[in-house]
Structure formats: structure tokens, C-alpha cells
């Protein structure tokens, strides 16, 4: 599989354009459905700023169209905001964060995110503080609701992600949608997705089972290797899941990218392509 085959596959829509990067696995929270079993005590499994920037540069030259940064909680890395801005010089960056590490004086760390090619995606699971905080930890609701308008006023594009065991649309979601709108986030920037039964969600019997075909085939890079889809590098009982592992080699990015494309072309149809996982 040549590099130009990857570019053609992205152009034609056969391969998704976004590369996900797991910057680290540790987190200040320990959500009930966390795919990576993240917590403050998790092994860090951390990429370096140089690796992340190199991935962005090589992703662009391979024809990818965007970068997503996730974890763990990326903002636990001191250098993360500046690295996101540096990556955005090459490709648009979507940063996923729990939004709890930018309160008070720490808000100034968000300055590099006021960039035309950076968007910040923050989790909010319910319009009811208790329900949200049951899954995501004490005071999470209050911190997120306070942060989002502050970011928007500062010129940061904000998306909200809701992860739920309930319906993905319909009237029960309306109060949450109204809350998200009131924070200044449009419906198109509010995504609702199911809990995927991997990692801690699997241990706690939460969420939907998913096979590879149900999971968008986005190239995903973590310290442990390259994976099929952003749900690939999950952790269960302290051990990395390897079922969606593509290669241990992460750079040059052409190696995992061409392996992903070859795998995509060789896979049988999945059990259910309509789970709405994204």
C-alpha cells in the first residue's frame, strides 16, 4: 500500500480524514464508563510533544485532513496547549478535554486555543448536575457549565460531547440540548454518542458492544501503538486491549496508515454499522 493510496482513500472518503492521538492515559477524573480506565493513578503512557507534532506534520503530507487529541486528560500535560497550537499550523486540531483543569487562574492556559484551526470538545452528559456528576465525578457539571461560556467569549470554538446509555436523540435529550445552546454551543457542535462497552464500561456492564466495522476506521495513535478507531486503545483490568491494534510502529505514520487501509479493504462486513458511534 503506497502513501498515495492513503491520500486517494482519504480523498474518496474510503478512509476517514482525522488522525486521533492519545497524548496520555492518566486523568484527574475516573468516569464510570471510561474506555481507558483512566484515573490519577493510571500509568501515563505518554507521547512527547515532538512525537505529536511529527504525527501532525506526517499526517498532513499523507493527505489526512485533521487531528484529534484525546486521552486520558490531555491538559494534565503542561506543554499541551502550545503543542496543540503548533500542530494546528499543519492541520486543524480537535482537543478533547473534561474541562475541569481550566478553571480560575488556570484559564490562561486556554489562550492558544483561540485559534481558527483549533476546537475544544468538552464532555457534558446530562442537564441534571447529579446525573452528570454521578458518571463524571463531583462538581464536574458546575465546572463545565462555568467554563464553556468563558472559552467562547475568549474566541475558542467549543463542542460538547454527550456520552449516554440512553437514547441518542428524541425529546428526552431536549433539556440537555437547550442547556448546551444556552451555553453558546450550536446543535451542530453538540454530539451525542453511546457508551461503548470497552474498558471500565465493560467491567461495569455499560454500553453497546461494537466490532471493528461499527467503529469509524480513524487512524489512532497512542504510546502503545497504532489502532483501528479512537476506541481502539482501551484498557481493561489494567491491561491494554490489543484487538484493534494495527501496528506497534507509530512513526513514520505511513506504516500504520497503510496497514489501516489494507485492513479496511480486507475486513468482512460488521454486525451492526448503525450504532451511531463517533
Amino acid at each position: 500500500m503506497t502513501d498515495s493510496a492513503v491520500a486517494e482513500a482519504i480523498n474518496s472518503g474510503e478512509l476517514p480524514g482525522r488522525v486521533w492521538i492519545y497524548s496520555n492515559y492518566h486523568c484527574n477524573l475516573a468516569c464510570s464508563y471510561c474506555l481507558t480506565e483512566s484515573s490519577p493513578r493510571s500509568e501515563r503512557r505518554q507521547l512527547t510533544a515532538e512525537q505529536m507534532l511529527t504525527i501532525a506534520i506526517e499526517a498532513k503530507s499523507l493527505g489526512f485532513t485533521g487531528i484529534g487529541v484525546t486521552g486520558g486528560e490531555p491538559l494534565l500535560l503542561p506543554w499541551l496547549p502550545e503543542t496543540v497550537a503548533a500542530m494546528a499550523a499543519h492541520l486543524p486540531v480537535l482537543l478533547l478535554t473534561n474541562g475541569t483543569l481550566l478553571g480560575g487562574d488556570r484559564f490562561e492556559r486556554a489562550a492558544p486555543f483561540a485559534h481558527p484551526d483549533v476546537a475544544v470538545q468538552i464532555s457534558l452528559d446530562s442537564h441534571l448536575p447529579d446525573v452528570n456528576d454521578m458518571a463524571r465525578g463531583p462538581d464536574n457539571f458546575e465546572k463545565v457549565v462555568a467554563l464553556v461560556p468563558r472559552l467562547i467569549v475568549s474566541g475558542v470554538r467549543v463542542r460538547i460531547a454527550t456520552t449516554t446509555a440512553g437514547p441518542l436523540d428524541g425529546p428526552t435529550l431536549e433539556p440537555l440540548r437547550a442547556l448546551v445552546r444556552s451555553l453558546g454551543v450550536s446543535d451542530e457542535d453538540h454530539i451525542v454518542r453511546p457508551i461503548v462497552r470497552r474498558g471500565r464500561a465493560d467491567e461495569r456492564d455499560l454500553g453497546v458492544f461494537a466490532v471493528a466495522r461499527d467503529i469509524p476506521s480513524e487512524l489512532t495513535i497512542a504510546a502503545d501503538g497504532a489502532f483501528w478507531g479512537s476506541f481502539g486503545p482501551s484498557v481493561r483490568a489494567g491491561r491494554l486491549d490489543t484487538d484493534l491494534l494495527l501496528t506497534r510502529t507509530i512513526l513514520p505514520l505511513s506504516i500504520p496508515a497503510s496497514t489501516l487501509l489494507a485492513t479496511l479493504r480486507g475486513l468482512p462486513e460488521g454486525a451492526d454499522a448503525s450504532l451511531g458511534i463517533r
Binding site: A212, W228, R239, D241, T242, D243, L244, L245, L246, T247, R248, T249, I255, T259, A262, T263, L267
Partner: protein, 190 residues
């Protein structure tokens, strides 16, 4: 040749944890510890198995010569896993228990292998797998008197591939399968 029941030093993946690019190797059940260990680095599994399969599988030399090379190399390298596995294969391809004892070093090679051609081949294998550094010309010349050059090249690759497996299995402490242990016990070779 003791029966080592230790667990593998590295993780042996099962079908549920088999990386997406390696599932074909797990489709018919347990693929064995070499595949299960190599699958943790999926990009190496296919190339490694292609090489090992070509080097150890059917070729221009007889299966007997190949097994002789594989088992003797494994003995010289002290690889418990490969000695067990290939003692069973050697029985399958028709080596006698005396010949196997000879390759194991339990009885004199001259007694186990009366044919000069096979002893010359074992001399070449011993020089490759049982020593380091340059190999004296006379070992090569003695083998060449009985074996065409291409056969010695092929068997040299077989020895090299076996040494790769020997160090992999020894380094990772791959477990001998229960079936192999039972077979060798039954034949008095455990």
C-alpha cells in the same frame, strides 16, 4: 530435557485479544505460543511466519534433512520449547528414537547416523549453531562432497531460522504444549 511448566514470560494473546490484522491466524483455534506471542507486535507476525515457514517448511531438500537440522540446532542452542516440539515432529517424519537420541547428544553420532553424508551435514549444522566465528573450510568441503551447494544454502537458512525461533522461545519462555509433553512421555523421550 525436563518438562518446564512455567508460564510464558510475555503475554500470549488469545482470539479475543488478537490484533485485527492477525485474526486469520486465530481463526481455526489456538495457533500456538509462537503466533500468540508474536501477535503482540502484529506487523512482525506475517513477515516472521513467512520467513520461518519458507525456511523450515518443504523445500528442495528432504523433510528428514530439514528436521535433522532443526532438532540438532535446537539442541545446540539449548531451546527447551523447540527441542520438545521438534522431537515430536522428528518422530512424525520417521526419525528413529536412536537417531533422536543421537541428535540430543545422548548417544554417539557415529552410532546413531552410520551414513557419512548425514554425519557431514551434522558437522556443518554443528559448526553453524554450536559455535561462533569463522567456520573452517574442511567442514564445508566435507559437507559439499555429499550435498549440492543449493541444499547447503537452504539448510543454512533453516538453521538460521531455527536459531531465531530458539532465542524467541527461550527468551520469552514459551510453554511446551500438553499434547507434545504427552507424546514425548509416551515415547520415552520426555
Amino acid at each position: 530435557m525436563g518438562n518446564d511448566v512455567r508460564m510464558s514470560r510475555s503475554q500470549l494473546l488469545d482470539a479475543d485479544q488478537a490484533p485485527i490484522t492477525t485474526r486469520v491466524y486465530f481463526a481455526d483455534g489456538d495457533p500456538g505460543p509462537i503466533v500468540a506471542a508474536l501477535a503482540t507486535v502484529p506487523e512482525l507476525l506475517g513477515p516472521a511466519l513467512s520467513f520461518v515457514g519458507a525456511a523450515l517448511g518443504p523445500g528442495s531438500v528432504t523433510t528428514r534433512a530439514k528436521e535433522l537440522a532443526i532438532l540438532r540446532t535446537s539442541v545446540l542452542q539449548g531451546c527447551r520449547y523447540c527441542i520438545h516440539a521438534h522431537t515430536a515432529v522428528a518422530l512424525d517424519v520417521g526419525l528413529s528414537t536412536d537417531e533422536i537420541h543421537g541428535l540430543h547428544g545422548d548417544i554417539a553420532l557415529e552410532d546413531a547416523f552410520p551414513q557419512v553424508a548425514e554425519r557431514a551435514l551434522i558437522g556443518w549444522i554443528d559448526a553453524l549453531a554450536g559455535a561462533t566465528g569463522a567456520i573452517p573450510d574442511d567442514v564445508w568441503i566435507a559437507a559439499r562432497e555429499h550435498w549440492p551447494e543449493h541444499a547447503l544454502v537452504e539448510l543454512t537458512v533453516t538453521v538460521g531460522a531455527t536459531m531465531f525461533l530458539n532465542r524467541l522461545a527461550t527468551g520469552l519462555e514459551l510453554p511446551t504444549s500438553d499434547q507434545v509433553t504427552a507424546r514425548l512421555t509416551k515415547e520415552g523421550l520426555a
